[in-house]
Point group: C2
Chain length 318, copies 2
């Protein structure tokens, strides 16, 4: 259950008077999501998602909401925050920071093929180009600084083999920082369930609440590690056709630099490490109410082990 | 024909590289419109309208484009300008100021019923509330100042009876200015052909290029004079059911003030005068290429005469 802060119809109806969206028609809780309270909201005007932020504060949230607004007005199909009558994206509802964003059509495709991966590559590159003019800054909240804080906290829960893998990877990543790679706002969590397809077209990319400024290639690696596998449940090696479609279409919009080519194998490992750590953390140190949604950390341990193995040849565009 | 400045596919394909909308798929000229050059543009990302501005300048255009962006992010279904990679809404194409806006779904309803008029009323009021926080300012370009410039220019083309009507109305309007009525950005031209309905729902309000800051009630009068007639072609009196639906739904969102109630009959005449004048101007003093689209000025002469006749009782909400 992911409604941490319940909202009643009458509470929302009153709150909606601060917007120019017309009267409330329907309010439905959304079960998915482990970080925030989300509801589908239908008004006389249209369909929206209401989010009550459970962890993020009114200090961090402008980065996210303004980023979504920025990308949306550049034509990126991401949720567009709705401004209230005081021209603010961020309000407060039942004691929590709260915002309304547009609800986009479509469904997630959990077994993407060549076409979906190709569309994702092109869209991710367009998103990165559009993000370049975004003036906001927030360090990737799940970047190297967070890894260093988190690794010692989850390490005691691991067996000796896993501890060795974690120690080795932390040491390896510590040798690489890539100050020369193109940077900008990254989504940071663009898994298959954070994208929607409608009639075969990539119609939405959402859940920007792990976004931050980082090397753009980190985003590419996060996507590749989730979208382009032979079989996400059984064989976490890359499917050459999927990963080539993804990378080629990305590069057609934003060509990779030689430095990015060189950093790619390391970034694939970094992206795996980031999710292994967060899943270990959520699994072993859950917040109350979070447990049912905790993902299996082993999935990303295996992805990391595969990408870090001596025989691994990182796939590349073309 | 309303393409004053032709754009080729290869010209547009090159220009689109300044945006994050993907490659050009289709380019179609739009025949309607008498002020600007418009094309439907389809890209890998979605459907847009390209406008090359033939009269408006880069000095006036930010008011319009920022207003549309403002309203769109408040949930008003109006075209949203797309920002380019330099984060600008306004570019230049083939020597003209040019912009891309989202293309909204739906079709115009030229014989609106009670339901359409009710939806229009609610949306217009929501648009006016959302516009209150818009910081831009541009005087209504077809307001009293423009009437005073234009009346003497078209007067010589009129017969004695029409000259008398024009003189009387200019004198009457000169006695009323309404500094105390609620003001804000008005659309100023929200005729039936500037709205779209999709599956019975008001899905778009567009063509904001006559917008400006004026008394909000002017917008209400423009709409009533176009949407709420017994028969737009034959009987320009108000249909009581339509006008009541329109005004009641407006007032349910933004209640009228007593001063607005009092000013209403005068504003209905002002709104008729504005369009009689502009149609006279376009008819008798057309730009080259404009003639085919010039509307019959007599339609608004008759509306004005009806609203100004001694026996006229202005309809009101409820």
């Amino acid at each position: 259950m992911s409604v941490f802060t319940p909202v009643s119809e009458s509470q929302l109806a009153g709150w909606l008077k601060r917007y120019s969206l017309g009267a409330l028609v329907k309010l439905e809780p959304i079960a998915a999501g482990i970080e925030n309270t989300n509801y589908f909201v239908t008004t006389a005007q249209g369909a929206y998602v209401l989010t009550l932020f459970e962890k993020l504060t009114a200090k961090e949230l402008p980065f996210y909401l303004n980023l979504m607004a920025h990308l949306a007005r550049h034509g990126i199909p991401c949720p567009a925050p709705i401004a209230d009558l005081d021209d603010q994206y961020l309000g407060e509802l039942n004691g929590k920071p709260a915002a309304l964003v547009t609800r986009l059509p479509g469904k997630s495709v959990m077994k993407p093929g060549r076409g979906e991966c190709a569309q994702l590559g092109a869209l991710l590159a367009r998103m990165h180009l559009a993000g370049r003019s975004y003036p906001g800054f927030l360090e990737n909240p799940r970047g190297p600084r967070w890894w260093k804080e988190t690794a010692p906290r989850v390490r005691p829960f691991l067996d000796a083999g896993r501890q060795a893998l974690l120690d080795a990877e932390m040491a390896f990543q510590g040798l690489h920082r890539f100050p020369d790679l193109p940077r900008g706002p990254v989504h940071g969590d663009l898994f298959r369930d954070n994208a929607l397809f409608d009639a075969g077209r990539l119609s939405a990319v959402f859940d920007y609440y792990f976004a931050g400024v980082d090397v753009l290639l980190f985003d590419v690696a996060v996507c590749a590690n989730d979208w382009c596998l032979v079989d996400a449940a059984r064989d976490r090696r890359f499917d050459p056709e999927l990963v080539n479609a993804f990378l080629s279409e990305y590069a057609a919009v934003r060509p990779f630099t030689p430095a990015e080519r060189e950093a790619w194998p390391t970034l694939l490992r970094a992206a795996a490490l980031r999710f292994w750590l967060s899943r270990l953390y959520d699994f072993h140190l859950p917040r109350p109410g979070e447990l049912v949604h905790a993902h299996d950390p082993e999935h990303f341990r295996e992805i990391l082990a595969l990408r870090a193995s001596p025989g691994f040849a990182a796939p590349w565009a073309g």
